[in-house]
């Protein structure tokens, strides 16, 4: 019989106390109340481990790197024990045809009962020849592995949106997973890479509740992608006060003022960086003094330079396609941001214009 998560953890010497701690940590990370802790614990104690195929297409492995560096060491161990990670060509011991045989075995033996995690995306130009695995185009491996999958997790911006290889002119016609696999539930976890704790929490949720978390209209888990970086940014008060960094080496930069004028894409980027942060909650790009580049947003490579401020976002809407609606919404957000900044600056000017009491 397949072991449960709990049995694996106990075998690895994790105490029950630590286990319960992990369950409550996960519940809070997922935005669930304390009432859910026993549910998570019960699920982990009784459910058998679910096989996971983790495929790599056109990608850079930064998603895997992020995942295995999850800040909470226990979370990483637990998640790795929870999954029966049967295929992941970056970390698996087998190689060559032995590795490929595993994919076939899982697809045949666990029909509808395994999860397909995809890092990277398939190129469709030249019949998929820009990414070959085991002598065959990656897109074929992807279609085959998806055929019996229960659900698909699109790790990172590559699998979710296309990312760097899909930036103009997209020479390989790199295509996100949801445009190739049309008949499976897909959960997108964008970011370049996504935050480790977000990745582990998504896996835990799927395994615990046996369903996908609540997704927004774009297919991202609401609990992590419903707020903009700007909404919870610790430099937000400087934005509201009209205090901006104007040069990389000015006094404002040293004082930690808002990076909006230096091209920060925080106001249009939906992600959890400003709350969850990185490396175990240590920091995130804005905290280290560089603007957000908006890496979890669709097509962020082609939305103007990383150091050009958002007011110049007329780039939105150059390409008219099915994403037009989303593009317009983003442009509206952008315009609102500009108005918002202008209003802040104006109120500041008013204040400074008043005679001192």
């Amino acid at each position: 019989m397949t072991e449960t998560f709990y049995e694996v953890m106990r075998r690895q010497g994790i105490t029950r106390r630590s286990f319960i701690k992990f369950c409550s940590l996960t519940a809070s990370a997922l935005g669930l109340g304390p009432a859910f802790v026993p549910r998570i614990a019960a699920a982990m104690e009784t459910k058998p481990r679910i096989p996971v195929l983790w495929l790599h297409g056109l990608e850079c492995t930064c998603c895997s790197e992020s995942f295995i560096r999850s800040g909470h060491p226990l979370a990483k161990d637990v998640v790795l024990s929870m999954l029966s990670l049967d295929y992941d060509d970056t970390i698996m011991a087998a190689s060559g045809h032995n590795a490929e045989a595993i994919v076939e075995e899982i697809v045949e033996n666990y029909k509808g009962n395994y999860i397909l995690a995809v890092e990277g995306n398939p190129p469709l130009n030249e019949d998929g020849m820009y990414c070959i695995i085991g002598g065959k185009p990656f897109v074929e491996q992807l279609r085959f592995a998806a055929s019996n999958a229960k659900a698909i997790i699109s790790w990172g911006s590559c699998a979710s949106w296309g990312c760097v290889q899909a930036a103009k002119p997209n020479p390989t016609r790199a295509t996100p997973v949801h445009q190739v696999i049309l008949d499976k539930p897909i959960i997108k976890v964008p970011g370049c890479p996504p935050i480790a704790e977000v990745m582990t929490a998504v896996v835990t949720y799927v395994l615990t509740f046996d369903k996908l978390p609540d997704l927004d209209r774009q297919g991202r888990p609401k609990m992590f992608y419903s707020q903009r970086i700007h909404d919870k940014c610790y430099r937000r008060p400087h934005f509201d006060a009209g205090q901006f960094v104007e040069q990389w080496d000015d006094a404002g930069a040293r004082k930690g003022y808002c990076l909006y004028k230096m091209g920060c894409k925080g106001p249009t980027t939906y992600n959890a960086c400003s709350t969850v942060r990185w490396n175990g909650g240590l920091s995130f790009p804005i905290q280290s003094g560089h603007g957000c580049i908006g890496c979890s947003e669709d097509g962020f490579w082609d939305k103007g330079g990383f150091y050009e401020r958002l007011s110049g976002i007329q780039q939105f809407g150059i390409e008219a396609n099915a994403d037009g609606v989303g593009g317009t919404a983003a442009a509206v957000v952008g315009a609102a941001v500009v108005a918002h900044a202008a209003a802040s600056a104006l109120s500041r000017a008013k204040q400074t214009g008043e005679p001192k009491q």
């Binding site: 070959i132 695995i133 760097v164 930036a167």
Partner: protein, 125 residues
């Protein structure tokens, strides 16, 4: 014996026992290796092939040079910083920018931190 020339100038043949390992695992990216082993079990010919191409060189053309590091960095998610720093240096060379000594020290620190994280971190896990 039939031989075949690969686009980048290597010769594949079918002499002896041909061993193909594809995919090579535990690396970043995608790779195929094939070797020909003779009757004494000695490798007589070996060819390795990177089996992925994303065209970052093509994508970079016409971009703002200040953004180049971010694209180049995506070559590899394991040694990201190295690619980024190299790209920054390339842009500076092209534009004849001389950087102050402090900037160079900061870059050295970044590079060494990355190396420690990559090598020692990998040993731990």
């Amino acid at each position: 014996m039939t031989t075949l020339q690969t686009p980048n100038g290597f010769t594949l043949d079918d002499s002896g026992r041909r061993v193909v390992v594809d995919p090579i695992t535990r690396i970043e990216g995608h790779m195929r290796c094939e070797v020909n082993v003779d009757s004494d079990n000695v490798i007589r010919n070996a060819v390795s092939t990177g089996t992925m191409w994303r065209g970052l060189e093509v994508i970079l053309k016409g971009r703002d040079p200040r953004d180049a590091w971010a694209f180049t960095q995506r070559i590899c998610g394991v040694c990201t910083g190295t690619h980024a720093l190299t790209s920054v240096r390339t842009v500076e060379d092209a534009l004849h920018i001389k950087i102050p000594e402090n900037a160079n020290s900061i870059r050295n620190l970044m590079q060494l931190t990355l190396q420690a994280q990559d090598h020692l971190g990998a040993c731990r896990t």
